[in-house]
Amino acid sequence: MTTASPAAREVAPRGGPDRLRWALSDAWVITHRDLSHWARRPAQLVVGLLFPVMMVLMFAFLFGGGMVIPGGGDYREFLMPGMFAMTMVFGIETTFTAVSTDATRGVTDRFRSLPMASSAVVAGRSAADMLNSVAGLAVMIACGLAIGWRWHEGPGAALAAVGLLLLLRFALLWIGIYLGLAIKSPEAVMAVQILVWPLGFLSNTFASPATMPGWLGAVAEWNPLSATVAATRQLFGNPGWGGDSWAAQHAPLMALAWPLLILVIFFPLSVRRYRRLSR
């Protein structure tokens, strides 16, 4: 060996500021790990980013011709906000698989046996997933612009819409973390898909809740995804369904309230689940 092994006393924390600095640095190391995954597996990254684009092309060109939009609007203008929100919802699968793989393989335990900040494992994970979602959303926006989608209410409203989409993703991320820690089996992502796809389709994304059977329409109108889709359609100035229910009338409020409610429930649940790994 060329140098002496590092000794524990040289690197042990010395006080509060040290701890905070290291909590941030630890979280960054975990985020950086995920970014390295992108660099190591560019094909997977590209496929992940292009899958929603394929969905857009499929709906816009395969089914789009047969769709009638309320008020005679452009179908692609109508479609894109729903596709943005769907992309955010499907991100839950990425989070789940990553968290659950680490827990099963013992990587989470290795992190827990290190003198790192315990918050960093989940904080780093959520930062990485949010970066991934920002990239995904950017690709989708570019795709939308390429097929003729536009925002009409100015850049401020458009940015607010992007904020609502990322807020939904951030809230769902904690459901992904919670399920990943609770289920600890990456193969169970199939089960998660079975939960997530109905959430995606049982909404106002493709069809008007008014045309669904009564109870199904009510579920679709109150779906958190529907709130974000309706609110972003308003903010982008794209055509939407409208609707008489309270949820449909107050879409922007619901698009804030739903993610916050999910966060209030699943953030503490995830933290508790993480702590319970030591029980």
Partner: protein, 331 residues
């Protein structure tokens, strides 16, 4: 009993941990002197892994206390973690990243700066014979390479106490040798090691002291020689041509070896513990030959873990652990 943290790297007193209806640890006591290797030997479900998880701060005990490197594993967990290295049953590595990236990442989480983490990663890759493959993703590594990388990750801060939880389970003989050599060189450098294993051979090869674990507590301890003496050491096994010669063969083998013979009519096998390995073998062959009893096969073998347990506890281990121990002896 007061905790003696001066001469011991690991001290556990009365550890208890209950999962639902089963008591994984039921008053687990252990004292491992600094700079020694202690082997925890026991079948699946004996509580070895639970003990390691408590001692490495991953699990809170329900009762009892433990100190590792002088730090209480519950109250001073964060400080203990700077002194403890853990190599678990599954190589806990990021499969996508390269071996080097893994080590750099863990080094940074030990709060070495980036430059030092990189330097340390290169040193460890060199030391574990992974310098050439350091840039490859871990998923292309063989089982033995993974385990060596895992070991390297456990050594980033040169821990004073290293925990190896079944470090060679699932490895082929070559991979097992690679890991054993790596552990041997660590021990020579003065690291205290606690090793769990289901393999008598492994405990024998690596550990100065063996603690036999059953039902959540240590039921016997001693040097490998002492334990083997206690359970009768090696065994001779004879497979007869005819099952009706079993009683005669048992009498002869019992007389020659001085041990208590056992038989299995289905396989026409008669076996007994022996003290002098080769002498016993030739004696048995000669005595059987004189009596006109034909043996199809005669083997000398180490007692399986199942037999160790049968003698120490009076009950058999679960079937699977016993089978695996038998495979191990065969390998």
């Amino acid at each position: 009993m007061p905790v003696d943290s001066t001469g011991h790297a690991i001290v556990a007193e009365g550890l208890r941990k209950r999962y639902g209806g089963t008591e994984a640890l039921a008053g687990f006591d252990l004292a491992v002197p600094k700079g020694t290797v202690c082997g925890l030997l026991g079948p699946n479900g004996a509580g070895k892994t639970t003990a390691v998880r408590v001692l490495t701060t991953l699990l809170r005990p329900d009762a009892g206390r433990a100190e590792v490197a002088g730090f209480d594993v519950v109250r001073q967990a964060a400080r203990a973690r700077y002194h403890v290295g853990l190599v678990g049953q599954h190589a806990a590595l990021d499969e996508v990243l390269s071996g080097r990236q893994n080590l750099v990442m863990f080094g940074r989480l030990y709060h070495l700066g980036l430059a030092r983490a990189r330097r340390r990663a290169d040193e460890l890759l060199e030391r574990f014979g992974l310098a050439d493959t350091g840039a490859k993703p871990v998923k292309q590594y063989s089982g033995g390479m993974r385990r060596r990388l895992d070991l390297a990750a456990g050594l980033i801060l040169a821990p004073s106490v290293l925990f190896l939880d079944e470090p060679t389970t699932g490895l082929d003989p070559r991979g097992r040798n690679e890991v054993w050599e790596a552990v041997g060189s660590l021990v020579a450098a003065g690291t205290t090691v606690l090793l769990t294993t289901q393999y008598l051979e492994e405990a024998d090869r690596l550990a100065a002291k063996i603690c036999v674990v059953d039902s959540g507590r240590v039921i016997a301890e001693g040097t490998p020689g002492e334990l083997k003496g206690a359970i009768g050491g090696d065994r001779v096994d004879v497979v007869l041509r005819a099952a009706d010669e079993i009683p005669a063969a048992m009498a002869i083998i019992g007389r020659v070896t001085g041990g208590e013979p056992e038989s299995d009519p289905d396989t026409r096998r008669v076996g007994a513990p022996v003290r002098e390995r080769v002498a016993a073998l030739t004696e048995v062959v000669r005595a059987l030959d004189e009596a006109g009893i034909v043996a199809e096969d005669i083997t000398l073998r180490r007692p399986s873990l199942d037999e160790v347990f049968l003698r120490l506890t009076g009950h058999r281990t679960d079937e699977r652990a016993g089978e695996r121990a038998a495979e191990e002896v065969a390998a």
